[in-house]
Amino acid sequence: MTAMGIQRGLNLPNTLVSLRGLKVSFGRGASAVQVLHGINLDVYAGESLGMVGESGCGKSVTWLAALGLLGSQAQVQGEFSLAGQRFDGLNDKALAAIRGRRIAMIFQDPASALNPVQRIGRQLTEAISLHKGLHGESARLQAVRLLDQVHIPNAAQRLQAYPHELSGGMNQRVMIAMALAGDPELLIADEPTTALDATVQAQILELLGEVRRDQGMAMVLISHDLSVIAQECARVMVMYAGRAVEVATTDELFRSARHPYTQGLLASVPDVGAPQKRLIAIPGQVPEAGRLPAGCSFGPRCELAQIICTLNHPALLPVAEGHKVACFVNSP
């Protein structure tokens, strides 16, 4: 393993998923809008990676694009590999073999993410039959087992319930159970707790951590809430306007964030553990995808901006072991 190899994130033995040069645009021709500008990302087996950023940063689009879930209006480019094998450019049928079975995804607002006219038992057994080849009674038993694993009481009766008969927290557990049906190697959780109450959020986050450890799965947790990421993830990627601006271990990030945006985010979150003080807000707002400023996208809002920041995009470069930043000013 050469230094270059580490830097380029070549398929090292424990790299599970690797995304290189991921670019996504919506629409065609003159009215096309580019929302992702070349994302490079590695997920290692069994780790928990957080992806954080505000609206429009592209954190969800990244994975929807990789899994081919964006629909025909999107143009997706890039090289993606799963355990060493490429999966970009595959047709729907081939991608379907990966979805759920090797990479599973759960979404925000579980009430609307489940089919309202099908019982949850049926939605569960559908996944079980698809991935495990079980049918009938054995599928049903497996469904009960999965519901137990996510701590839903009275699992056998619950199979008959419809999504609208269950609360938000229960529905999210069902989603997680469905995602586990195929024994995936990677679980992408897209804002799984955003639509839930505070006490239920805590339950679900705890469940996700437990499930990840029990299954030995890797997990990518996407959230706009830094504190959620801080709690559950060992590594974090911060995104802004379709680019990755900082990647580091969580400890490192909170101790010594280098990118001005990350620093700004940390300063704008009211922190309960610290004494009450005035928040330091980042001025301005996130630019629209089609109307990015010249040079660094964060430039106009950045205190440290220099001339060079209006000319070029900074590349994501290492500043320390396992810590990369995309900034002209705050990097070596």
Binding site: L69, A96, R99, G100, F107, N115, V117, H164
Partner: protein, 313 residues
């Protein structure tokens, strides 16, 4: 659920009652059956005798009560033209109408739903746009215009198909096609919207993310949900199976219920018209009732969702 249906049933009966009453009054307010059935230059005494014989000289309220009393005894009245029992006359025509209406209905469903689903799945493509334009043309064109155009093209100019009457099965083709195209157009448009609405829902994405191939997602998750609103429309179409053929039957001289309705209204053959209306209204009301019941069966949110209703204290 039973309570729900019971109320609907009672409402249905009320609707029937109102329809019959309304028709009763309107029919007797204009036109004189005597003059229409016997010719206009019959002697006045004959006309008087006719009216007396059919009880048309009694006050309106008396006729009204008499009619409903007879109805409850199962007496639907007699045709003033040939004195045969009105309901028998009507029922005799039903097979003819159904032989048009049922194939047309099936055709409507097949063409309409497939076109709608196909358009939704290929949204904004040229074929979607073509289908939308065709469906707009289809439901804005009045059915008699469509019928006459088809007659002109296929019967007169090309001579492939007969223009009227009901002797062979080839006679049925044009009327069936005319009947089905308008409904297919509406159904296509509606199905397309319902599908598009459903396809935009988060659970479709979940189904894909689960690893289902696209065909499965559409068939197992999208279509059942899109079927729910579409069902109301289909129920309505079932309800109007019998009555909807009136215009087409006239254009193609098809001896069905619709033709009978037209002629008996023109003649003020009261009992026949009333029996026809009773039949049509009953079909409509029953179809609606079935749709309501079906809704509750298909959409679990409706079923368990007779939730708590409250008022402020």
């Amino acid at each position: 659920m039973t309570r729900f249906l019971a109320i609907r049933f009672l409402r249905g009966l009320l609707t029937l009652f109102l329809v019959l009453s309304f028709a009763f009054v309107i029919l007797r307010s204009t036109g004189d059956p005597a003059m229409l059935i016997m010719s206009a230059d019959a002697p006045p005494e004959a006309l008087e005798a006719f009216r007396k014989g059919w009880g048309l000289d009694a006050p309106l309220w008396q006729q009204y009560l008499g009619y409903f009393k007879n109805l409850l005894e199962g007496n639907f009245g007699y045709s003033m033209r040939d004195k045969s029992p009105a309901m028998e006359l009507v029922l005799a025509r039903i097979p003819a109408t159904l032989s048009l209406a049922v194939p047309a209905f099936i055709l409507k469903l097949v063409i309409g739903i497939s076109a709608g689903v196909f358009a939704a799945l290929h949204r904004n493509s040229w074929i979607d746009r073509l289908l939308i334009s065709l469906s707009i043309a289809g439901y804005t064109m009045p059915s008699f215009v469509l019928g006459l155009v088809l007659v002109l093209v296929f019967a007169v100019n090309l001579g492939w198909l007969p223009s009227g009457g009901d002797t062979t099965w080839q006679h049925a083709i044009l009327p069936i096609v005319t009947l089905s195209l308008g409904g297919a157009a509406v159904l296509a448009r509606f199905t397309r919207s319902a599908m598009l609405e459903v396809m935009g829902q988060p659970y479709i994405r979940t189904a894909s993310a689960k690893g289902l191939v696209w065909r499965r997602v559409v068939l197992d998750h999208a279509m059942p949900n899109a079927a729910i609103p579409t069902l109301t429309l289909i129920g309505f179409m079932v309800g109007s199976l019998i009555a909807g053929a009136v215009v087409v039957e006239s254009v193609f001289s098809w001896p069905g219920v619709g033709r009978l309705l037209v002629t008996s209204v023109a003649n003020r053959d009261l009992a026949v018209v009333q029996s026809l209306l009773l039949l049509v209204a009953t079909t409509m009301v029953t179809a609606n009732l079935l749709v309501d019941a079906l809704y509750g069966w298909i959409d679990p949110r409706v079923r368990s969702g007779q939730e708590a209703r409250g008022k402020a204290l």
